[in-house]
Amino acid sequence: MRWMWVDRFTEFVSGSHACGIKNVALDQDVLDEYCPGFPYLPPTLIIEGMAQIGGILVSEKFDWDKRVVLAKVAKAEFFFPAQPGDQLDYRVVLDSAQEDGAVAIGTSHRDGELQASIELMFAFLEDGKLVQGPLFKPGDLATMLRLMKMFNVAVGADGKPLRISDKL
């Protein structure tokens, strides 16, 4: 299974916010056993999807130099389940970013209706903590971001398209 919980980036503005969509499909294994007889996308994976968008937003903000990890889900509210056939619109806004961490606010909408609201805190791993060196093998993150079509929509704070960094 690919650990990617966003299907496609639809907007990305460096240091500000990013949006993506997640389609919920009945053929996804993850829907099978979570709640037998009532398939829906587990809320934890909706958090993960928005955390992936947020993590990328934070990483890019720091020019991919930080080892960004999701440290805490400070708040998570879900208003209805995401069922097969639903398309979730994720929007993650960078609330603050400092040298030792960042906070992002995420929302998930279905057809314009608020489906979930979360608050995420990211921390930066010091070198030697958990793993040595980069968290991704060279090229892996760039491949993942290309699959999610991030660079099709990503722009810098000045509105100019973002190039794929040599650091990825």
Partner: protein, 128 residues
């Protein structure tokens, strides 16, 4: 107009409720962040972010976590903070009530030292 102690407490209380998921009535002045409110190490970064935002201040990380003192063999002997170390801690953290800790200053107990009142005192020193 400078914030009153009550206003400071209310904002600190709100930050701790959001960061730690605790109830308002649990966040009393004497409650310890770790022992009573269940704060874990990552929560301190969250608390710092919230206090900085709520009060428009900048909080140097070593202010609340004097790891440089507590891991320095010049100030710690056999897991206990020396007199020099206590003096250094008091100088770094004049807003904290270290009297209880000073009676038996084991480094391992330092983590459960800070109270809600200490946090309010700290903020007061930063904004005054």
């Amino acid at each position: 107009m400078p914030a009153t102690q009550e206003e400071i407490f209310e904002k600190v209380q709100a930050a701790l409720i959001d960061a730690l998921g605790v109830d308002e009535n649990e966040v009393t002045p004497g409650a310890t962040l770790v022992g009573d409110l269940g704060a874990e190490s990552i929560d301190f970064l969250d608390i710092v972010f919230r206090l900085e935002k709520a009060f428009g201040i900048s909080i140097p990380r070593e202010d609340l976590s004097p790891e440089d003192i507590l891991t320095n063999s010049q100030y710690v002997k056999d897991g206990v903070v020396t007199a020099d170390g206590m003096s250094k801690l008091k100088s770094r953290m004049p807003w904290a009530d270290l009297s209880k800790f000073e009676k038996n200053p084991r480094v391992q107990d330092f983590g459960n030292l800070l109270t809600v009142r200490d946090m309010c005192n700290y903020v007061e020193t930063k904004i005054s």
